[in-house]
């Protein structure tokens, strides 16, 4: 500990302790104290009264005091400024895509349009180009739970499943068909990230992308809804949600939308949209929740318009279980509304069921979730059945419904009856190794990446579940 005064100062008499500092001219005849203010002839004037601040510290008498109240009064502790409403949530939900403390990885290459569909690129890490990052950020493809903030640039690992999914998308677009996929798999295996990769692939290949970042926002009665007049059975629109979606959609797909033109005129819109107007202009007409649903319907009609050149479209949704159950909305007769009666959701389910398809080809991809997902027995059953049916050589036995269970939902089964199920498994060892080398090069994994370490983290991560590997390798404190 350093002394508060240096020793030399202690040796020499310090100027503050010199008796010189005492004013010498004070008259000696004045008593050193006075009993009353009046008698003290030279008593200084009282200080000008300042308005009392209740928070100002009151002078306390030191020493023991009599306790007058029965209980101790709570001390007022100054905790600083409380965060404003919504500030905490914004902090919690913020997404930072880079970290200047992480090392740049020298061998990292930027992703090009064909990279993720090429099976030669399996177990390679690619960084996302800046423009693509903006697009993905605009459509809320990044999630706060994903650890983008640990690395210098957002990068993704190309896996076997990635190549599979991208291949299906490419094939469907080439044949003017709509690929209908459901991504499923264990917790933390990277289903949402697979969606992100699909979106990245679509953006790079100039597709139009519509993304529902979290399906629960649609069905948990958290946005406004209203019945659509003239529909039977009654369908419901969600203008606020749709407005936000259109705005994000416009921001993310600006380049493609400006090159895609309307096929018909839309006099019903607040701004008159004529034929051969860029779709971007159509999207820009959505400014208020009131007219948002009309704009969305016009946009949807344009996207689904036949006999005009349309780029392939990718429609993705995360958290499939939420739109496969009764929603929390109520009808005017106070009955629960089925999620498929929400008009926006119905667009998605019709595509997923194969009842409608994109004119220029494309893909509908839904991802299930394991962390925040209601139990939907029908969905679980049908997905398991589809998976067993798709297994090579009929290896797996097709599960049958429980005859004594009545919670099955016919509408859900009809939607999912013919989808393709892609199971996202744990990564293979070469993929895990490649990812760990990327971690090590970023300066996050401070170990030699060898067979032993890879196997260890691979096993600790539940046979290659990437999120769990990340937890075991990067998020556990090592001292």
């Amino acid at each position: 500990m350093s002394a508060s005064k240096c020793l030399r100062c202690l040796v020499r008499p310090s100027p503050t302790t010199l008796p010189v500092s005492v004013p010498q001219h004070v008259p000696k005849n004045i008593a050193p104290f006075s009993t009353t203010g009046a008698k003290a002839g030279q008593n200084p004037k009282p200080a000008p009264s300042v308005p009392k601040n209740p928070n100002a510290l009151q002078p306390y008498r030191s020493g023991k005091k009599m306790t007058l109240s029965k209980f101790k009064k709570n001390k007022v502790i100054d905790r600083g400024k409380a965060p404003l409403p919504g500030e905490r949530k914004a902090w919690r939900k913020r997404i930072s895509l880079s970290n200047d403390n992480a090392l740049p990885v020298p061998w990292l290459t930027q992703m090009r349009p064909g990279d993720m569909a090429d099976s030669g690129n399996v177990a390679k890490v690619f960084s996302l180009p800046a423009g693509l990052q903006d697009q993905l950020r605009a459509c809320e493809a990044f999630k706060p739970t994903q650890s983008w903030n640990m690395f210098r640039t957002p990068s993704v690992l190309v896996r076997n499943e990635t190549v599979d999914v991208m291949g299906r998308m490419q094939q469907a677009a080439g044949e003017n068909k709509t690929a209908r996929l459901v991504l499923t798999g264990d917790k933390f295996t990277g289903k949402s990230l697979m969606l992100l990769q699909a979106m990245a692939h679509a953006y790079l290949n100039e597709w139009i992308v519509i993304h529902v970042p979290d399906a629960q926002e649609l069905t948990t009665a958290s946005t406004e809804y209203a019945p659509i007049p003239g529909t039977d059975p009654v369908q419901y629109m969600q203008p606020n949600y749709v407005l936000k979606l259109i705005q994000n959609f416009r921001k993310a797909n600006e380049a493609v939308l400006s090159k895609t033109y309307t096929a018909t005129a839309h006099p019903e819109l607040p701004q008159n949209i004529t034929v051969n107007t860029p779709l971007l202009n159509l999207c820009q007409t959505a400014k208020e929740p009131e007219g948002a649903w009309v704009v969305f319907r016009a946009l949807w009609n344009e996207l689904m318009a036949k006999n005009v050149p349309r780029p392939p479209i990718l429609f993705t949704l995360d958290g499939l279980a939420h739109i496969m159950k009764m929603s929390d909305y109520r009808s005017p007769s106070f009955e629960l509304i089925h999620s498929h009666d929400l008009a926006f959701v119905r667009h998605f389910t019709e595509l997923l069921a194969g009842n409608t398809s994109f004119p220029g080809g494309g893909a509908v991809i839904a991802a299930t979730s394991r962390s925040n997902a209601p139990r939907v027995p029908s969905m679980e059953l049908v997905l398991a059945q589809r998976e067993a049916e798709q297994a090579p050589r009929g290896a797996a036995e097709v599960p049958q419904p429980d005859p004594f269970f009545r919670g099955y939902d016919k509408r859900v089964e009809s939607v999912l009856r013919s989808v393709d199920v892609v199971r996202v498994n744990g990564a293979s060892k070469p993929e895990a190794r490649s990812l760990m080398e990327y971690w090590a090069a970023s300066g996050l994994l401070r170990d030699t990446v060898d067979e032993k370490l890879v196997t260890e983290k691979w096993a600790l991560g539940g046979n290659g579940v990437l999120g769990e590997m990340e937890r075991a390798a990067l998020m556990t404190m090592r001292i």
């Binding site: 890879v454 196997t455 260890e456 691979w458 096993a459 046979n463 556990t476």
Partner: protein, 321 residues
Amino acid sequence: MMASSRHGVKATLRGAFQHIQGEKWQPLEQQFRSLRLTQSRTTGRRCMSTETSLTERQSFRAAREFDLDNLASQLKTVKHARAVPVSPSYFSRSPRFNDRYLGLEKLMRMYGNLPTVPAADAGRVAWMSLADIKQAWGESVKATDYANCLIILKRLHQIHPDLKPPEVTRALDEFKRDIQAFDNEPSPILIDRYGRALGVGKRKSSTARAFVVEGDGQVLVNGKTLANYFGRVHDRESAVWALHATDRMDKYNVWARVEGGGTTGQAEALTLAIAKALMAHEPALKPALRRAGCVTRDPRTVERKKHGRPKARKGPTWVKR
């Protein structure tokens, strides 16, 4: 009891003849002769004990067997002779222990020079503790005596097994506990025809059985992967700690069943189970595993609750009245 035994009779007789001849101590041969003379007492010859005739010297024969039934009537023995105890430590406070102690010392004198084996090779023996001895023989034994006795016991136990005399073995057996826990050799874990070694481990109230085969590092616990079964990373790490500590993570596959207890207990039971199975594959890993703390079972379990207390040790709440 003593008077009825053969030894007792001899002692009695000794006393009788002492009385007759007025001498304190006689050599054994003289006693025998005097016994013969007692037969000739009927012929009127007396005090011949110091004389030896030629005929007698020539026809020296062993004494006839005592006719125990008629002896008392033939000899005027003392009716109530005081029996001399066999044991020299009869009047000490701990004759049983002392006798055995002296016996051990005698054996030590006799066989102390026999070749020995190192103490580690002699085999572990659970000797009776001081408390056991006090309890079993009903005597108060000094701790010092017991300690000295134990030194001799251990030294005698080290005598080479091929040369160890049976009397030594008998003497040592008296100091062994009834239950020899060290004799219970755990049956060695064998590797079956599928290449599996089954290890069993316990911790707290969990039991784990781990089948370890050569492989590439896959782990399944109750049919789930490690990440699915253990939510905590720490538990996952401790479950495969035996493999991690010996750098064998990528050499073996594990298939395990765990039951009972909580997550920590199950994870640490797995540590032990995998370590044991691993030692079946590679016995040379035992020191490394011991250093990693994977060999010894942790004996700590929940302490039982006691009456009068809200928990095992917690005191009751203080109440004013």
